[in-house]
Symmetry: C2
Subunit: 239 residues, 2 copies
């Protein structure tokens, strides 16, 4: 029986290239700046920044610019508006630094995407800021490997269903590969598709969920190097 | 001879609904805040904010979040870092206010899009921030009228060519309608398509260009109510 999987979608940040570590480094610098005004542990800087981000993501969407505005807002609140303008400027520059970070591919990524594309159509599906994501795709040198590059504002069942309709592929013929079970795996499984989870050592707090590793259309791999075999295994299991 | 125009693209901001006036109001409030620290005319606040925006748009792309970060950066520079954190917070809130502005349709918009869709496929093509633009499209009540909604990071020849390839429509069968000659008309004319210019009273400085009204595939209308007749006239002219 031929594989039922025609189309394979790849997430980008922390699946194809490093990303979260730049955000975490910016958060650490943010704590150092705010720490000049308050006791960081005492005022729970980390939790309060996360609370501001969680509230603002509804209005801002995902991405670095929203994170930067949330950091500015949180810094002013945390310091009771005592923060100096020079330090606000440093926070804005932290955000610019994240936007300018180099695109460093994870090991074996190009080879894995090329191997998968020998047997499947491959697309890139990433969420976040349109301009920043496009710049990273361009600088990754991977753009030519993908049939389509789709940048979406959210990765939920509705968005995946709309993309599959555009691609004219039924959910049962689609596998999504990524480091966020919440955004890359769960909604695709719910639609009747396949999910391959490739965890990355760091995960943003807003992406953390429980994982159901027993699902019949689910596989977990340690790196993309294992992906071609995992896709073949999923298909065999279904045969 | 049947009309050569199969597909009609509509811009969104200041073509379907009001937008720039919310940005201009935020800029005026920004000048009032900075004016507490400096002589607004003396330090050329307007020009210097524009210069910061022009520089940052390369890194930030279009949209309110980038504008807000540029306002924060410009305010700190313009005041030699004397601005109080409370006033930085007011600037962040100005940006949030623009993101939350109501979607108010321009007169006759729904009727015009419906009339055009009787004879053509219609798509919405807008540039800017993915999350903000999607929220505006949803709240406009117009989403159901469009065959596809495309949010792009830039409106240049390359992006229009890629969209037309996805739509499987040659440029000569595509007309774009919008209030920015630079973004909605010029690149489409250059590709061999048709352009209908619908000026809006306000236009962001970075969108201002010379207009070539003599182009054989160009029309200008005062409002979308005149669009169906203008499209028919373009087609007749070509026949």
């Amino acid at each position: 029986m031929p594989t039922p999987i025609e189309l394979v979608g790849f997430d980008a940040d922390d699946t194809l290239w490093h990303s979260e570590r730049y955000y975490e480094a910016a958060h650490a610098e943010f704590e150092a700046i705010v720490g000049r005004y308050v006791d960081v542990a005492d005022v729970r800087v980390h939790d309060r920044l996360l609370a501001v981000e969680r509230e603002n993501v509804k209005l801002f969407g995902y991405g670095v610019k929203g994170m930067t505005l949330s950091m500015v807002e949180a810094a002013i609140a945390l310091t009771d508006a005592r923060i100096a303008a020079e330090d606000v400027h440093r926070i804005v520059m932290l955000g610019k630094g994240v936007l300018e970070h180099p695109v460093e591919l994870l090991p074996g990524v190009r080879e894995a995407v090329e191997a998968v594309s020998a047997n499947h159509r491959v697309v890139l599906i990433t969420k976040g800021d349109l301009h920043h994501q496009e710049r990273k795709v361009e600088r990754s040198g991977l753009a030519d490997l993908f049939h389509r590059i789709e940048i979406v504002s959210e990765k939920d069942e509705r968005r995946y269903a709309a993309l599959l309709e555009q691609f004219e592929v039924p959910a049962g013929a689609f596998a999504m590969v990524g480091n966020s079970y919440k955004s890359d795996v769960a909604p695709v499984l719910a639609l009747g598709g396949w999910g391959v989870y490739v965890p990355y050592p760091l995960l943003w707090a807003l992406e953390r969920v429980e994982i159901d590793a027993s699902h019949p259309r689910f596989a977990q791999v340690a790196s993309l190097a294992q992906l071609p075999a995992a896709l073949a295994g999923l298909a065999d299991g279904a045969a």
